[in-house]
Symmetry: C2
Subunit: 368 residues, 2 copies
Amino acid sequence: MTGPRYTPLVASLPATVPFVGPETQERARGEPFAARLGANENVFGPSPRVVGAMKRATPDIWQYGDPENHDLKQALAAHHEIPAENIVVGEGIDALLGYLVRMLVEPGDKVVTSFGAYPTFNFHVAGFGGELVTVPYMGDHEDPVALIEAAIECDAKLIYLANPDNPMGTCHPDNVIQAVINAVPDGTVLVLDEAYLEFAPDGTAPDLDVTNTSVIRFRTFSKAYGMAGARVGYGIAEAGLIDSFNKVRNHFGMNRLSQIGALEALADQRYLQQTLENVAAARDRIGIIAEENGLSVVPSATNFVAIDCGQGGVFAKKVLDALIARGIFVRMPFVSPQDRCIRLSAGTTEDLDKFAEALPKALAEAQG
Amino acid sequence: MTGPRYTPLVASLPATVPFVGPETQERARGEPFAARLGANENVFGPSPRVVGAMKRATPDIWQYGDPENHDLKQALAAHHEIPAENIVVGEGIDALLGYLVRMLVEPGDKVVTSFGAYPTFNFHVAGFGGELVTVPYMGDHEDPVALIEAAIECDAKLIYLANPDNPMGTCHPDNVIQAVINAVPDGTVLVLDEAYLEFAPDGTAPDLDVTNTSVIRFRTFSKAYGMAGARVGYGIAEAGLIDSFNKVRNHFGMNRLSQIGALEALADQRYLQQTLENVAAARDRIGIIAEENGLSVVPSATNFVAIDCGQGGVFAKKVLDALIARGIFVRMPFVSPQDRCIRLSAGTTEDLDKFAEALPKALAEAQG
């Protein structure tokens, strides 16, 4: 028997997972984590109004969601003061990235990103046969000039830039990002991933310009709105690019409760402000905990903080393993020199109490 | 400005929607439907245990779902008495169909289906450049022999067969389907869509054989379990084919609440039985209503019924429009001769009361 005849591209791909989930690690450990701080989730969770709206709608889960995401797009349009035709809603930014790559990238096409940036984007690029061209971080920031130069040199279909950045949490100010947008070569699209934007200082995002065909900006309800498990992301771009998603997207892919929850989340901006205050306080406390242990943090514009463990990746991995052994789920950047850090979410007071207790022991174990 | 440089394939695709959603029609009407019977949803809804479990988990929506779908796969494995390695869970059968087509079909590859069968499958095939080869229905049944013959003739990568069928609701017995499985040509994969299987009589599905590399079977929580809006489907196949989904799937695409709800739905088989009884009674009543209006129904093995309006597609469309004008949302098959029918879900007593009241008026209007 021949079996299934995969496309040559798919036959060449590894059966990979961009991230190992915390549940997988918990099953291997045989017990749950005491603090879940590794998956870039927002532990402060959704607004009580979101929880209420989703619960009320749960009995209606027998109905498909609206394939046009009409109400959510209208609300987002009002929120951002742009037309709804410039918004596409999808099953998290991950799914939208996959659709976008599929729309633009075929085998051999070049795509530019930073070495060590978001692995799921790379997964999609590989999945459609694109060739990834990477440029190094500049310090702990993505390097806008190098990204543009690489895109020009290799005639890239796409440039990926996250602002604020993941995994380091740094950000560039709006004028730097606007300069990147202005410098995008003709025929290239800049993927500006702003998943963590709400956590960043004012002046991080340039104004939206939905006439510009060179950029698509991604936002999400997974981070500041505390709804990662609901899978709701959206893209903002010129109307033609947005409409092209209708050629390939899973029209009935949106969860009905998630649509309802996201609508309510957007309406509760007061809760969002409270979350941002909680996150800022938690970031400060992580800085203090790090300092108490003789370590420093990378200044963060997100809801996670990279703690510089002061040595290379091997040492940081020992610290990470020792934290995990103590029930503290954290992650670390994949590549050098960022992998000198461990990265943890802005946790609750209780989470950070546990972290504060575990960190000195983990450091001692890693050193010893 | 050149703008985005789409792949030639994507540039050639229309920005299409496989189905217009009921919400879209409601917005056009300016009022909601009185009975929602057109979208192949299950109006009897999810088990109260499902609703309870999802509500309890709603505050945890800040956490991503388990990317391995471990617990749900284990429960499905136990339910079907097969290894978990033979199961892939995804965001509804629609998403899994998209992944499967992507894995096997590249531009120019042939795919066989019945003329008038599931449009979303065709959407995916077109989306990856496949060429659709169609065979006609045989009466109101899909034609297994013709499907196999066409697959041999065109050297198809995939054959799509729904059993029970959508949109007609008919089914073949297990021995006929087993004969199809046995006759699948080497190098071809049979997509056996069993979304409506739970509604069908015993003896509809052949035994699962997870060593067979020629078939993948799809099941869902959208239909009998009443969870369409949750987007949970799964595929059953040989382990190598299942593992290949990991090359392309959206690993963190599953909604956390949906995973929890599906697990609970599977555990409440008593509620499923009650649903099946409700659906059977509603099907019977639709038959009676049709008969009272001088019409006949196509015998259904699903939770919807095709009512033969006794004339061609133009007349059936008039009946459909007249029902919609009266707030009764139904759909109809897309192609002749199946489009002599209108298709409606097995509704609640209240739904069918409204339908019974509207149908004679709709018929009179269509005739007049």
